[in-house]
Symmetry: none
Subunit: 116 residues, 2 copies
C-alpha cells in the first residue's frame, strides 16, 4: 500500500462522524440523504464525508434509481489492520541494523561504511 493510500485510510478513520457512517453502512442500502438525517449537519457535509471514505477505499456507492446507496467495504478494517502490520513489521525488521541508519545524514549516506 502506498504512503498516500495509508494517509487517506487513517485520515478517513480520524473522524467520529465518518467512523459512525462506516458502522451504519455495513448492511448497505443507506442512501446519502437517509444518512444525512442522522447527523446535525447539512446534506452536503455528509456527502463530503462519504467522499472522503470513498477515496480511502472504505465504502463504495451504488446507484439505485435516483438514490446512491452507500456500503462499507467488508475488507476495510482488514486493510487498515494490514497497514498497522506493515508499520510494525517495518520496525521489527529494522531494529537490529537500525543504529547505523540513524546516525547517517541523508546527504552523505554511504551504506558501505558506517559507524559500528
Amino acid at each position: 500500500m502506498s504512503d498516500e493510500a495509508v494517509d487517506r485510510l487513517f485520515h478517513a478513520l480520524a473522524d467520529a462522524t465518518r467512523r459512525d457512517i462506516l458502522r451504519r453502512c455495513v448492511r448497505g442500502g443507506m442512501s446519502v440523504s437517509r444518512l444525512s438525517e442522522a447527523y446535525p449537519m447539512s446534506f452536503a457535509a455528509v456527502q463530503k464525508h462519504v467522499a472522503v471514505l470513498e477515496r480511502a477505499g472504505l465504502v463504495t456507492k451504488q446507484r439505485r434509481g435516483r438514490e446512491q446507496l452507500v456500503r462499507t467495504d467488508p475488507d476495510a478494517v482488514g486493510r487498515a489492520r494490514q497497514a498497522l502490520d506493515e508499520l510494525e513489521t517495518a520496525w521489527r525488521g529494522r531494529v537490529d541494523r537500525m543504529s547505523r541508519l540513524l546516525a547517517e545524514d541523508p546527504e552523505k549516506s554511504d551504506p558501505t561504511e558506517g559507524p559500528d
Copy 2:
C-alpha cells in the same frame, strides 16, 4: 477509548513523516535534534510532529541531560488495533453477525452451521 482519543490516534498515524518517526524510535535513545536531521524540514517542524505523536499516546519523551529522548510506545500499535476492533465489534452487533459471513461464502447461507 474516547472518540477524541481515537481521533488523535488515527490522525497521528495519517502522516508519512510521523509513521517514519515511529519506526525510527522503537529502540528509543533518539533525541529530537538527531531525529530532525533525517527529514527535509526544520527542527521545529519535527518537534511538532513528535508533539502530535505524544498527544496521541504513540511516543513518550524522557530527558537525558539537555536532550529529550523519544521512544515509541511498544503498545502503540496494539491500541490502534484495539480501536479498529471496537469499530468492527460495533458492526457485528448491528449486523447480527450475518451479512459479513454471507458475503464471503454464499453457499453456507445457514447461520446455524457457520463458523464462529
